[in-house]
């Protein structure tokens, strides 16, 4: 039997960067590696010497897809440092922001990243012509999830309003 080497450089339609390297000999996998080739950013160092109130804004930039989660985790860290307990209303609103992000990220995952594999197409683009209703519904749901984040956090990618202790502004509409 022949040896096979499979080398997938930069796996498509995943969040983040990865390569898959596999070598097969006599029908058996000799080596199977998932290489994470994400470019390192060094946030731990970038944060040094910055004022505490900037921390949530800086660490949100770790990832655009889960920016709200990074924001919320860092708010908790800053509040812990000050022994500050946010109000029940703040906690509830933060949870709403978090759920909005879950929704947005899961919709992105299912419809944009995974679905094309099941239909054996490159991306969601061809699905827009073969299954227009489903794609349009997915886009509507994604828009709703984004709006949910925006109502609480100002926007989904890198929220603006959540700050240690609460929010700069509450949406009263």
């Amino acid at each position: 039997m022949t040896d096979i080497t499979i080398n997938v450089e930069h796996i498509a339609r995943v969040e983040g960067h990865g390569n898959v390297v596999m070598s097969v000999r006599d029908g058996r996998i000799k080596e199977l590696r998932l290489e994470i080739v994400e470019s390192p950013r060094f946030f731990e160092v970038m944060l040094q010497g910055r004022p505490w109130h900037e921390v949530p804004h800086i660490v949100a930039r770790i990832c655009g897809i889960c920016a709200a989660s990074h924001t919320l985790a860092s708010l908790r860290a800053v509040e812990d440092a000050f022994k500050l307990v946010p109000s029940p209303q703040t906690v509830l609103l933060r949870k709403l922001l978090l759920y909005g992000e879950f929704l947005q990220s899961h919709l992105l995952h299912v419809y944009f990243l995974v679905a094309p594999d099941f239909f054996r197409v490159d991306s969601v683009i061809p699905l827009a012509s073969t299954h227009p209703e489903v794609v349009k519904r997915a886009l509507r749901m994604k828009m709703l999830a984004n709006e949910l984040c925006a109502v609480v956090g100002g926007r989904h990618i890198h929220p603006v309003t959540p700050v240690p202790g609460g929010f700069t502004r509450l949406n009263r509409n």
Binding site: R13, E54, I58, K136, H158, V160
Partner: protein, 245 residues
């Protein structure tokens, strides 16, 4: 013939690519006008016959410079999308720390596993034809740029500061509430997004042309900020201005 378009991602949070996918209401219309031949986050297609390259992120790994130069050779137009690409964005803060110490601080004995260089915005490596500002870039400005390139005109990007949009939105100036804001020197185009939400502008869209930093430093001084604090505040997104040629 639809123009062939590719998206590339370097050191970034991928939030600007995501912003493209978040143009939900107009996404399908836009896709009808262009042919996407490469967009790793959204497609497994990988072709190199693109005319327009959108680049997200900064160069910060040894082979990033080579990759960017390849893109420049192949593309007719290069568009930098988002602060990371335009000016280094938050990534640039890393350049104010010693590189080797930075690597060891985060990765300890494995520091060599993660090669990294000083952060460079795209324009420090290759010629950039257009920039879409912001962290993340705004959908409107991205769409304005795509539409402009499609019809062959220069994208209309504001040349005045955030304060102009803030006044037009009839916001109460944050300085009146004892807060601080970089709006007077930062390029508009976000509709004074942060001041509108009660948060001071952090400068993610970069300096406006004809800004007056000296004057803003004086004003911030009256609000208790020392000049070095103003510089530190600017470094959040605009450290590049300290070394820009």
């Amino acid at each position: 013939m639809k123009p062939k378009v590719a998206f590339f991602s370097f050191t970034s949070c991928e939030g600007c690519q995501l912003t493209v996918l978040e143009c939900e209401d107009i996404l399908l219309d836009m896709l009808g006008q262009i042919e996407i031949v490469r967009f790793r986050e959204a497609s497994s297609l990988k072709r190199d016959d693109y005319e327009i390259a959108f680049i997200e992120g900064s160069a910060s790994r040894p082979d990033d410079v080579t990759r960017m130069r390849k893109i420049r050779e192949r593309a007719n137009l290069v568009v930098a999308i988002g602060a990371c690409a335009v000016s280094g964005g938050v990534n640039f803060m890393k350049n104010f720390h010693y590189l080797q110490r930075t690597r060891e601080h985060v990765y300890g004995a494995q520091a060599d596993w993660f090669p990294t260089t000083q952060v460079q915005p795209v324009e420090a490596v290759i010629k950039v034809d257009h920039s879409v500002y912001g962290c993340p870039m705004t959908k409107d400005e991205f769409l304005e740029t795509v539409k402009s390139l499609l019809v062959g005109r220069t994208p209309r990007i504001p040349q005045y500061p955030v304060c102009v949009e803030c006044k037009m939105a009839e916001n109460v100036c944050l300085f009146h509430r004892g807060q601080t804001c970089l709006g007077p020197v930062i390029r508009a185009g976000c509709q004074a997004f942060c001041p509108g939400l009660g948060a001071g502008c952090d400068g993610c869209r970069g300096l406006a042309p004809d800004h007056n930093l000296a004057s803003l430093t004086n004003v911030l001084g009256e609000y208790g900020m020392k000049p070095e604090e103003v510089r530190r505040k600017l470094r959040l997104f605009n450290g590049y201005i300290e070394v820009q040629p």
